[in-house]
């Protein structure tokens, strides 16, 4: 548990970082003014070692829009702490001007207008340009490039190539090491094949063979950069076997494995590591708790929960980095190593404004090559949207509403369930909806859209269980992610209630009647973790609905009432 003192330190560290570097240089650029590549790269270097960090790119090779959440509640000790602050509160905490480039990149309000002004973010050719520039400035031997996972999944091209497109891109970027989560949904054989052959290390100290408890992957790797030894320990999503289909990797067991991690840290120090880095797919709140319990980690590079923060969070002697998702940001950490120890850390979250950065030509060529076989398919227009379509938010997002509407209509269901995934791009009002946009929100290896009968009682059980997975006060009992999205049904949720009594007021929206515990409802859903789930792939369901509708309009969603926040 984080103590009050640690909380105060965390707040102070965040402010200090902002004033020291953080997004400080960007903050000086007047609101509404576009940034240059030099503004984005500007950094007052420290020491000899630089760590560059990207995570949760979800296989997005091209620039896109991605709206950050307006609702991102923290519970228990994390309540009200970054990253569980949004919009005005977020800007105040990190000293960001409303309407500025940083506000567009990091907060959600006024998104459409700001998106039209600042343009798309991300693009692996732009990421490559930033990485190349930092390597040129610091020297190749002084820069370590790490990837926090959820890199191989999230696009049609990654799905269709079994992640080969992303492996090729990561290889060309010269990634040093990565960790995994969605990677595992390509199945154990494919993951092992890549891990064995790729030029980067695939690290995971917390995966064991469930028969002999032997490590499946290398747990850590030592690198020499900037004249120092840096130990990188990998931590895969501890809840992968619960969150994703276990039958795809039936012999693997996950878990947090704090004690094993502590041993890894001690062994790394014994091997002469001056810097110990945890490359972690735990999710931010789990890492914040872990940092207060596992001793001797200098830096935790966090992932999974897709948080982007322009300042470091300090817990005891450990600093936590949250680098965002979808290649919107590249984190730079300069580390001053003195007498075999970390003497200072300087950080900047570099926003990848695609219009401001000159693409790296070699990477642009590779991206064009890997996309070429699918280019016509990806560009195929399906329909249009009149509404802003985004996904992030604890309870709903209009893109998920669209998916639920599609399931209700195309599968003739009374209620639709859609998982609370945090990945997938954002579309602006007036945008064409292409095949690429549909698949960016749905490209998974278990896409079947099922149709079943469930009683009201069973629906309540599902909602309660998912709610506990998100709002359990102890992050070690959470699984990450957002609430399951509902079509055709409303409910109330008390996020601070105990397991089993958070959900009330379940209502069948079409009839306006309360959901009857004993009645049976026809329910459609997708992304079931059960093997041999029947039904068409969800992308076909959505495409059929959008094509038939022509122009999609999503009304504001008021079906979920939230209390206890």
């Amino acid at each position: 548990m984080i103590s009050k003192r640690e909380f105060l330190q965390a707040t102070a560290a965040a402010s200090a970082m902002l004033l020291g570097s953080g997004l400080g240089p960007l903050g000086k650029v007047a609101a509404q003014q576009r940034l240059t590549q030099a503004d984005i790269l500007r950094f007052d270097p420290l020491g000899a070692l630089t760590i560059l960090y990207v995570a949760d790119t979800h296989a997005q090779l091209m620039p896109l829009h991605f709206r950050e959440p307006s609702v991102n509640l923290g519970v228990g000790e994390a309540r009200g702490l970054p990253p569980h602050i949004t919009d005005d509160e977020f800007r105040k905490h990190f000293q960001i001007a409303a309407g500025s480039a940083d506000a567009f990149a990091l907060t959600s309000d006024d998104f459409t207008a700001l998106a039209r002004n600042y343009g798309r973010m991300g693009g692996m050719d732009r990421v490559a340009a930033l990485i190349g520039a930092v390597r040129a400035e610091r020297g190749d031997n002084n820069v370590l490039l790490l990837d926090g996972g959820d890199t191989w999944q999230g696009s049609w091209t990654s799905l269709k190539t079994g992640a080969q497109d992303m492996v090729d891109v990561m290889s060309q970027l010269k990634v040093d090491a990565m960790v995994g989560h969605w990677e595992f949904t390509y199945g154990a054989d494919r993951v092992m094949e890549i891990a064995k052959n790729a030029p980067f290390a695939f690290l995971a100290q917390n995966i064991r063979d469930n028969e002999w408890q032997e490590p499946v992957f290398e747990g850590r790797k030592m690198f020499e950069r900037g004249g120092a030894k840096i130990a990188v320990i990998g931590q895969a999503l501890p809840r992968t076997a619960v969150a994703n289909p276990r039958w795809m990797f039936p012999k693997w067991e996950f878990g947090i494995r704090e004690e094993d991690l502590q041993k890894q840290v001690e062994e790394a120090r014994a091997d002469g590591a001056s810097v110990v880095v945890l490359l972690s797919h735990n999710g931010f709140d789990v890492d914040r708790k872990l940092a207060s319990r596992v001793k001797g980690i200098d830096v935790i590079l966090t992932a999974h929960t897709h948080d982007a923060m322009p300042g470091l969070i300090r817990v005891g002697e450990t600093v936590l980095v949250a680098t965002g998702s979808h290649a919107k940001f590249v984190s730079r950490l300069d580390i001053d190593v003195k007498a075999g120890k970390v003497a200072g850390v300087r950080f900047k979250l570099m926003p990848v404004f695609s219009d401001a950065i000159a693409p790296n030509a070699a990477m642009a060529a590779l991206i064009a090559k890997v996309r070429a076989p699918f280019a016509a398919e990806l560009a195929r227009p399906i329909g249009k949207t009149e509404s802003l379509l985004y996904r992030r938010g604890n309870f709903n997002g209009p893109f998920d509403d669209l998916i639920c509407d599609a399931m209700l209509a195309e599968r003739d269901a009374e209620i639709a369930l859609s998982p609370g995934f945090r990945w997938g791009g954002t579309l602006l009002p007036g945008d064409t909806i292409s095949w690429e946009h549909v698949t960016n929100a749905t490209a998974i290896t278990y896409p079947n859209c099922y149709r079943i009968q469930m009683t009201g009682r069973q629906l309540k059980e599902v909602l309660e269980d998912v709610a506990d997975n998100i709002f359990h006060p102890d992050p070690y009992f959470q699984g990450g992610g957002d609430m399951v999205r509902l079509g055709g049904m409303g409910y109330s949720i008390d996020v601070s209630g105990p397991m089993g009594s958070r959900i009330s007021g379940m209502t069948h929206l079409k009839s306006g009647k309360p959901i009857d515990a004993a009645r049976t409802y026809t329910v459609a859903g997708w992304a079931s973790v059960n093997e041999n789930t029947q039904g068409p792939p969800i992308w076909d369901v959505i495409a059929a609905y959008v094509a038939r509708t022509g122009s999609v309009s999503i009304a504001p969603n008021s079906a979920v009432r939230v209390t206890g926040a």
Partner: protein, 153 residues
């Protein structure tokens, strides 16, 4: 209409929605309660006092597969003839029979450590009791969550 549900309906809900792989669980007899575990422990030890400490329970916070939940128990002891762990008992509050495992040890065991897999039907507390050679008793408890999960990241 009440939403109070039986364990059967809960499993059916998970199976149907397929939000996680709990569908293999089959119908089981009535489940124990925390009171029944307390009563089973009471029956075995009467009103003897339990100390805390010495027992290290290694269990997952969240079960990956409710059918085979790993548990590792280790009790701190020199394991000499004069001072050793005689037995360790594991109780699961939400299982049909609360006393799921008992281990007997002798000084020749070298250390009092044992691993097993147990089937847990639902989220529950698992209680370990260690009997020492001097007659003292130790107790420890851990919550294991059995969930349909769901995923966002």
């Amino acid at each position: 209409m009440s939403f109070m549900s039986s364990e059967q309906s809960r499993r059916d809900a998970f199976k149907l929605a397929g939000l996680a792989g709990l569908s293999l669980l089959v119908a089981s007899p009535a489940l124990a309660t925390p009171e029944e575990v307390a009563s089973a422990i009471g029956k075995a030890y009467g009103d003897r006092k339990f100390a805390s400490g010495k027992i290290k329970m290694d269990v997952p916070e969240i079960a990956e597969n409710g059918l085979v939940v790993p548990i590792n128990v280790e009790v701190e002891s020199p394991m000499t003839d004069a001072d050793y762990v005689k037995a360790v008992h594991v109780y699961a509050e939400g299982n049909p029979l609360p006393n799921v495992i008992s281990y007997k040890f002798t000084p020749a065991c070298g250390k009092a450590s044992a691993s097993a897999r147990m089937r847990l039907a639902q989220t529950q507390d698992v209680v370990c009791v260690a009997e020492m050679s001097d007659g003292s008793l130790y107790k420890a408890k851990a919550t294991i969550k059995v969930t349909i999960g769901g995923c966002g990241g």
